[in-house]
Symmetry: C2
Subunit: 342 residues, 2 copies
Amino acid sequence: MTKKTRRLVTIHDVAKASGVSVSTISRVLNQKSDVAEETQQRVLEVIQQLGYSSNLAARSMRSSRTYMIGLIVPDVEYAYSLEVLKGVNHAIATSDYDLLIYTTGSFQKQDTAVHEQQYVSRLNGTVTDGVIVVTPSARSFSSTAPIVSIDPHVIVENYPTVYVDHYQGAVEAVRYLVELGHRRIAYITGRSGMQNSERYRAYCDVLAEAGIPYDPDLVHEGDYSIDCGTVGARVLLALPDRPTAIFAANDQTAIGVSEAVEQLGVRIPDDLSLIGFDNIPEARFYQLTSVDHPLMQMGMMAVELLIKAIEGQTIEETITKIPTRLVVRKSCQALAENVKSL
Amino acid sequence: MTKKTRRLVTIHDVAKASGVSVSTISRVLNQKSDVAEETQQRVLEVIQQLGYSSNLAARSMRSSRTYMIGLIVPDVEYAYSLEVLKGVNHAIATSDYDLLIYTTGSFQKQDTAVHEQQYVSRLNGTVTDGVIVVTPSARSFSSTAPIVSIDPHVIVENYPTVYVDHYQGAVEAVRYLVELGHRRIAYITGRSGMQNSERYRAYCDVLAEAGIPYDPDLVHEGDYSIDCGTVGARVLLALPDRPTAIFAANDQTAIGVSEAVEQLGVRIPDDLSLIGFDNIPEARFYQLTSVDHPLMQMGMMAVELLIKAIEGQTIEETITKIPTRLVVRKSCQALAENVKSL
DNA sequence: TTGAAAGCGCTAACAG
DNA sequence: CTGTTAGCGCTTTCAA
């Protein structure tokens, strides 16, 4: 285990080297106006020369403003998070703020509501001027600095939120399957929460509207993972009266379904129609994803809201809703194609 | 501007509430063994109850280990960075470490070698146990904690590095164009640096090997941006003896070329062949990108190396080279198609 | 087994 | 315009 033996060059070193006091250095660093031009020059030179940079931890502890925005996100690997990330990045790039992303790399690792609060207090109030939390499960956060939440699993109580219209999105998806002529439409759900119940409601509503009786056997509980898609597909396709279409809670799950289904010799979309919720079909060549994309928009909007809050404009309990655009046909095929080519 | 008026619950609050001293709380927090079972229980309860979480900045300042790995990256929006990110995330997910990503959102914002050093000292040594720097321009860093660099623009002096084989990748790309029968092959370069000169060398070598005379007019200087692709394409296509193929330094630039070219009524790939370097063709539906992808592998490998370094295994001057796989045909068409559909 | 006290590097009064 | 000083919240000796 490496010891942090010697500390890096500190403000004291700079002070010594330039023959002034630490507070003067600090003033130069923070661009205070009350420093002699000459002194400033000299200090700047020394800083340059020594390769000094103020230490984030120390600075954060003392000053109220860090010009850092925090993003707390379960992972930075899968489509959903990355798309949001792109939006956030886009907005950050043209702002005065830098971005600090905190992730455990996996929502399995320890992402419960309790830990979310911990992450928030870890960053907010000191290290960052404000924090964006992606898909939080916690209902509320205590924090001194502003918070914006993106697409929460629960209804958030005391913070502005940007979210996808899960009801509408699910309606579009299921309705598409109905219009394709399907009567046996299965649903692999997400983890329980607001997102999920909205989609579930949509599923039921569309079935009802189409006069299709609700069959509890066709609803398989999932958790947004690839695995639950695999398992779900196996269970559903083993049913005596097997479904002809599956609506999956998100793309991860849909991927799982595709994998399982292929092994069973069931072909998509010939034998089985498949739709995932968080479709990102435009992303085929994904650096081209346009800023119109709902997930990117959520990210951009969250940054905008947060900066407003940080800079003092009182945020009313703003709730910003972004409609999903599901381009079902495309995504359905893209998925199938892709899985085959794996 | 919001003032950080009231501070969050601190270790002192916990101490007061549980009737012990702060040092005891700290001991519990850090799982020291010399705390009475009973005391520990009580403290844990209070912590839970108060929703306390140790402040990152403060903790970092005092302790040598934070179990945080830092990633310094120019942006988290474009294909290249995201692909590396996915690799890093993948490795982090199964490790004991959390990930802290620091970005300004744009390499335009202030990404010079000087600033890179600043970012490193901001994080490393206090906030993080080690840092991965993506595509650094700085030749060396001073830091107390370990550093690993990914795909640097220059030859890195004192740190382990993971990088793509730019020479080989460029050879494949240009050779592909030659095999297509092209004789007038233009090259829009990246910013000057190691990556670029390697590719340039490959470009020249392949031309020589094919007996094609080198024409300086066909080499247009770029900077990895979309814009330089647009400009470059216009200039190149205005040439009396215009090129029939363009090799772009990266995908961003290639996108720029596609855009400009379309406006000129030149069609890809019929009238003009186009290849970008950092092709990520498998990423059509990008959550499916496999861990075999060179860019992801770089990310994963960097984490591995860094953790080794942090945990004391002395790292020799390891240089890990990952060959590029360019699937030129696919990517070329995908690009063109996609740009048209914008 | 615990507490008191000394800082980590920095900023922000307050004096000069 | 500049220096002195008092902490921010935490960990870590050193005593008790």
